[in-house]
Symmetry: C2
Subunit: 403 residues, 2 copies
């Protein structure tokens, strides 16, 4: 068995982050993810970051472990071929994921004529189908207004495409739920996920909307202070930064012992009539508490701070650049079974993540490289559509497929 | 049928974001999510934001649509009762999700003695089980070093708990994959998800690690500029901010027409010998391109900008605060079928999100309120464990449960 989804086949026609990241996750669970690529590559085939010779590290990162068939999607015949692939028989096949416009032969209406139990997951920007991307969704939902050290300089965008990343995993969830339903009932369906809905559901779940409606307030920017509890970045004597938190009473107790702050904090508690073992009181008294920890950190080097905080089980972590992450953090190394050094043809050998889920009864699928565009064209045409070599030859001559 | 997961039962013993957000998502797909709450509430029961009288909008947002049983988990008898609930029979039951320490009767080893086909999903901070939370994972993986207008002021944290949100959906994916496996094989399993793995997998998928190893560079902070393409925030004459992007050639063409910039951009292209229809060239020439769009935006009011950009299908979006999101964005209103105005007992009526997935063959589960602590204690003890009223009475008298 090759992963927990061994045998399941998903066809993907997609670009950018959300749908491809869903696909890489399914592939790393053992599914056969067939990516339909336009001949010459889609909209994101050359996206940055790229290697010195222009190969996209972004594209190859998001398409690991998939099979690629390159089809001329600009032609009706090409789209017909794609639709045959999507609707090919098999109890574990007939699942299609796209974030493209999916018109004509690749529309749901056309596809279910060929395969009535098709599951199609269509990711759009907004619920009405209007275009929206991570950046425009994020600007709309409110986070840039409360991110960063102060709002004098205007909004601060996330760099992480957070909504795309959440949407990817909403997509894998939706696929598995719809496939479960099909297994039980024989019924396929059309599944729609709007990126803005993904974001607004999270915003609502976390209470930001209720703050506006119920409290008639909204979250204000508070820099790196962690809202409603104790937490912030602190500078060490030797110029490092560390994130130190105390969210639970136990963590707060640990921090007080590690930094020998019991007495100083008791004085604050007495003067303000508060109990800093209450999370809300730690937040309210942060103007007095932060300077104590600032001073403690400012007078110590990073290595000493690490030792002291670890000894007492304080909740903390270093700030690291991407380079430091790879150099200093063993969680981001081949010592972590999620990671492997993988040879990526045309790019080189680098540390590559597999699935961030460990199933006790199923072995990890080794992280593999992304396919070349059209690397599996012949194999897929033969295996899935049953085409013989001469027919495949004709398709290639007509420019409908390439490999 | 009440949602696509109708009949599936998941028991949750959890705090904070990742596991509860997985639970609310499963509940909104129709699963029966039974939350085991400690009597008096768990670590996050009073987390901010709170209402004027201290009711947590955070807790209620993350526990919508679940059933609550309140058990004294500090006692062995209480943990035994919880373990009976987790391991109760039923083909669609026997799924347990936790991000707590899960020792003693609630450990996997003990639980599978009662139910060998149990699926237990255990969310930890780091893969070795060490504690880590969204804030310490985020500081470690590199994003705060590249977020914000400049790095002179130090790292900039996300405000969104992005990794917890991704992890929530990784968790729902893992549950459905393991349940699919159990349906096929009869076999349960122990499933581990480390929050840091979730983050590092995303960092790897997006190419940040390959940049370090292959290019010997790493991403630098570039404020709100969208890396590798054309995009940034711009200020309007009347003081609004808008995010304007051109990721695809079509979007770039639209922008040029909407802003009448063809001539000015051609001059830039000639002087630099570039083709701004190439994404990478737009990024390289942003020092010259941004001022053109800046000037265009600075000389127009928001309403005119909106009209001009929408007319030409330019990719853009407004920056909104949380209040503006609710006041001005119809995607965040009861006009969007994902949202409903829901009465939350003890809090009030507010706009509440349901599931961000629309299944064509299954009706949406109406967004419901969170339970009171222990609201369903009697019902669950009777229905799931088959206990009679007198036994339940004894359990309450002994302080093992409350309602």
């Amino acid at each position: 068995m090759n992963g927990i989804l061994d045998g399941l086949r998903i066809v993907e026609a997609a670009a950018f982050v959300a749908a491809p990241m869903a696909g890489v996750t399914l592939a790393q669970m053992g599914a056969d993810v067939i990516r339909i690529d336009p001949i010459g590559g889609g909209l994101d085939y050359r996206r940055w970051p790229v290697t010195a010779d222009g190969t996209s590290l972004y594209w190859s990162g998001l398409n690991k472990g998939k099979r690629s068939i390159a089809i001329n999607l600009g032609s009706v015949e090409g789209r017909e071929l794609a639709s045959s692939l999507i609707s090919a028989p098999g109890a574990d096949a007939g699942i299609f994921v796209t974030n493209l416009s999916a018109s004509g032969p690749m529309s749901y209406a056309s596809l279910i004529e060929k395969r009535p139990d098709l599951i199609m997951v269509h990711i759009t920007g907004s619920p009405d189908g209007a275009i929206a991307v991570d950046y425009t969704v994020n600007s709309a939902v409110g986070f840039p207004a409360v991110t960063g050290p102060s709002q004098d300089g205007g909004p601060v965008n996330h760099v992480l495409p957070a909504w795309d990343s959440v949407c990817a995993m909403v997509t894998t969830t939706a696929i598995l739920a719809a496939e479960r339903h099909r297994r039980a009932t024989g019924q396929g369906q059309y599944v729609r996920i709007a990126l803005s809905d993904v974001a607004m559901a999270v915003v609502g779940h976390l209470g930001y909307l209720a703050e506006v409606e119920i409290n008639s307030t909204e979250r204000e920017a508070c820099g790196n202070d962690v809202y409603g509890t104790f937490g912030r970045d602190f500078r060490t004597r030797d110029g490092h930064r560390v994130m130190i938190l105390a969210i639970t009473p136990r963590q707060w107790g640990s921090l007080l012992v590690a930094m020998d702050l019991n007495e100083a904090v008791q004085a604050i508690e007495s003067s303000r009539g508060i109990d800093c073992f209450q999370e809300a009181d730690r937040w309210r008294a942060r103007d007095l508490l932060f300077p104590l920890v600032e001073e403690w950190a400012r007078n110590r080097d990073f290595d000493n701070i690490r030792a002291a905080l670890d000894e007492h089980d304080v909740l903390w972590g270093p700030y690291q650049t991407f380079t430091q992450l790879m150099e200093n953090d063993k969680r981001c190394s081949a010592a972590n079974p999620m990671f492997q050094k993988v040879d990526h043809p045309g790019i080189g050998r680098y540390l590559t993540p597999g699935l961030p889920i460990e199933f006790s009864e199923v072995q990890r699928v080794p992280a593999g490289p992304a396919p070349r565009l059209g690397e599996h064209t012949d194999e897929i045409l033969s295996e899935v559509l049953g085409l013989g070599p001469s027919r495949i030859h004709v398709l290639r001559e007509e420019g409908l497929v390439s490999s």
